[in-house]
């Protein structure tokens, strides 16, 4: 909420009498300027002594706002950006890759929902190992429940033939951060955003995957009651993730647990109705203990039909 006087240095037309005129209408910052009706403001300016100068000031403000806006992209430019910048990352498991037509897509937020001990953390670690090894990208792993295990990731990095040096190099691409509450989460993500914006693009080991295991344990403590604070923070976190994914071409993977007994007794994902609009892709992981298999089904996808499933057998250490 920068006050208008900070703009004076570069735009001398926004001088003291323009600012006085604005503050007489309750406009002290650029955000206030956005809330007001500009034609009405220009009509008020007409009545003043230095009408032309004031109207010129309003036009300059509007052009400053326009400079900050993003440009409108047409369909061909969107396609080009998609094909050039946003690749598909393999999730480490062939079944999931075939279900998702390639795997996790950069620029999208993928949510994995499942009851406890259904293998969500294993899926996350497998995806991290696959991205670090095969796509040679770095992974930012946010762990909220102390379930990260470097040894398990080392097992996912394939084969007995993997040399210790290779294993060490791959593991060094994964950075793990423990976060226990949502405010530290905002802090961490905003620090990441600043680091990404200042980094040079030509880097072989750029950040490709951001894992949050699990996001519901950060949000559930603040949700609750009819107040809007909890849900506002949840939406703000969701949009921050979407922004990171799209602007910096990262695939974001978050996990969520299920809460039981809707009206028909089926389990449904936690975090409520508002959260449903945040992830691009929602996958449900369910485990069948009798057959030792787990099934992944699509709850929602931006370009595929929901309801498709793939089942795989357990105890796969390596691809």
């Amino acid at each position: 909420m920068a006050p208008l006087k900070h703009l004076e240095m570069e735009n001398p037309i926004i001088d003291a009498c323009f600012r006085d005129f604005c503050s007489s209408h309750g406009i002290l910052t650029v955000e206030d300027f956005l809330i007001h009706d500009l034609y009405e403001l220009a009509a008020f300016a007409e009545r003043q002594v230095d009408a032309d100068r004031l109207k010129e000031g309003i036009t300059v403000m509007l052009s400053l706002v326009e400079v900050k806006c993003r440009p409108w992209l047409n369909g061909m430019e969107l396609l080009e950006d998609l094909q050039r910048n946003k690749q598909t990352l393999s999730s480490g498991d062939n079944g999931t890759d075939s279900l998702l037509q390639g795997g996790l897509r950069e620029g999208q937020v993928t949510e994995l929902v499942g009851p406890s001990s259904s293998g969500k953390t294993q899926f996350c670690m497998q995806a991290a190992a696959s991205v670090a090894e095969k796509q040679e990208g770095s992974v930012f792993y946010i762990d909220t429940g102390n379930s990260f295990s470097a040894r398990r990731i080392a097992q996912f990095i394939c084969g007995s033939s993997a040399a210790a040096v290779l294993r060490k190099r791959v593991l060094s691409r994964i950075s793990c951060h423990t976060v226990y509450d949502i405010y530290t989460m905002f802090d961490t993500l905003q620090g990441l955003e600043v680091a990404l914006r200042s980094q040079m693009n030509v880097n072989e080991c750029r950040l490709r995957l951001l894992v949050v295991d699990s996001i519901s344990s950060l949000i559930t403590p603040i949700l609750g009651g009819s107040g809007s604070q909890g849900r506002a923070l949840m939406v703000a976190l969701g949009y921050l993730l979407k922004k990171l994914a799209h602007e910096h071409n990262i695939a974001v993977l978050v996990t969520n647990y299920t809460v039981g007994a809707g009206e028909n007794g089926k389990t449904k994902p936690a975090l409520g109705e508002t959260w449903k609009s945040i992830p691009h892709v929602r996958l449900m992981l369910s485990r069948d203990n009798r057959n030792n298999s787990c099934t992944i089904s699509i709850l929602k996808h931006t370009s595929m039909l929901s309801g498709q499933t793939v089942t795989r057998k357990d105890n796969q250490q390596c691809l």
Partner: protein, 340 residues
């Protein structure tokens, strides 16, 4: 003598009623955008599509966008489009351009195959559908291919912008007029303004209302003020350009009313109360701005005749103007297909 001339000029008509009607119908023509074809839309209408997530609202927008960006005819093939620009404001930030591209390609291929482009007749005649299935296998060998130049020109008529919060949305709306003027200088006209998920920033704006500064002169960035400004800017745009606004809205409260259609029909006959089937959360300035309302809910599975897996079906109901018929549709590769 001059006063007589002036008086006679004043009495003489500018145009006849027939001329006026043909001019108005030409400028502000009726748009029949499937699957919203039950009610013809004119420039100046604001349509709001409400549904929980996921109920194919964005798919409907994409389908309507394709109907808008296609030309009427091209190289002798009739497509039946409006050849106008579509402005897509993505507040949900989940738009997938691959889906738009695939649906457009499907549409171009179908129009070329049929030859006269009346594509909505495809769904009704199952004979043609079977024929399409057989054609799909030999698509690579078939000589019918879509026109790449047409595809590119259509994609270029789709303009997209995403906003991550209300301030970005407000600044985009304030500068939209100039950008439309730039586009119109190149010869293309804007047909539809689409907003994906108008309630996207509802919670974050509500939070800023509770943190509002209470200086006496100052207008705070509260939810009502933000929505009022959005409505104001859109009204200004609609006065100058003839466009239709289509906005989707995701419900943010759980549906407490019975979800079964039969239950709802019985209860509405009993109480005659015009209760909407969802809890309205948008401020009254937006509700007054909307001229047409649609509600979509999930309606069980649809079993396809050819033995493929059953797809989830959705029902589309017009709340304003209130129509008694409810369309059921499914979403498949080619887009939204009405089944009953």
């Amino acid at each position: 003598m001059r006063e007589h001339e002036a008086a006679r000029d004043w009495i003489r008509s500018d145009e006849t009623a027939k001329q006026m009607l043909s001019r108005v119908l030409g400028d502000r023509a009726f748009l029949l955008l499937p699957p919203l074809h039950r009610v013809p839309l004119r420039a100046g209408n604001v349509v709001e599509i409400t549904g929980s997530s996921p109920t194919a609202k964005t798919q409907i927008l994409i389908q309507a966008a394709i109907a808008c960006i296609l030309p009427k005819t091209w190289n002798g093939v009739h497509y039946g489009g409006l050849e106008k620009l579509v402005l897509f404001l993505d507040l949900d930030c989940r738009f997938d351009v691959m889906r738009l591209s695939d649906m457009l390609k499907h549409r171009l291929l179908e129009a070329n195959r049929i030859g006269n482009g009346a594509w909505w007749q495809l769904e009704e005649s199952s004979g043609v559908k079977n024929c399409r299935g057989a054609q799909d296998k030999s698509k690579s060998k078939s000589k019918i291919v879509y026109d790449e130049e047409l595809y590119v020109s259509c994609m270029k008529r789709f303009l997209y912008l995403r906003c991550y919060d209300s301030l970005e949305l407000l600044s985009s709306l304030k500068t939209l007029h100039y950008r439309i003027r730039l586009q119109e200088a190149c010869g293309s006209q804007v047909g539809v303004l689409m907003i994906d998920s108008i309630g996207a920033f509802h919670w974050t704006d509500r939070l800023s209302s509770s943190l509002a500064l209470d200086k006496n002169n100052r207008k705070s960035l509260s939810l009502t003020n933000v929505v009022e400004t959005i409505v104001q800017e859109m009204k200004k745009l609609m006065r100058v350009h003839s466009l239709v606004v289509i906005a989707t809205k995701a419900t943010i409260y759980e549906e407490k009313y019975p979800t079964n259609e039969n239950n709802r029909k019985l209860s509405s006959n009993n109480d005659k109360a015009q209760q909407p089937p969802f809890r309205e959360f948008m401020p009254s300035s937006w509700q007054a701005f909307v001229t047409h309302k649609i509600f979509i809910r999930k309606s069980g599975d649809h079993h396809q005749s050819s033995g493929q897996q059953s797809l989830s079906a959705y029902s589309l109901e017009w709340l304003q103007p209130q129509l008694s018929s409810i369309d059921r549709f499914i979403v498949d590769d080619s887009g939204v297909v009405i089944v009953s």
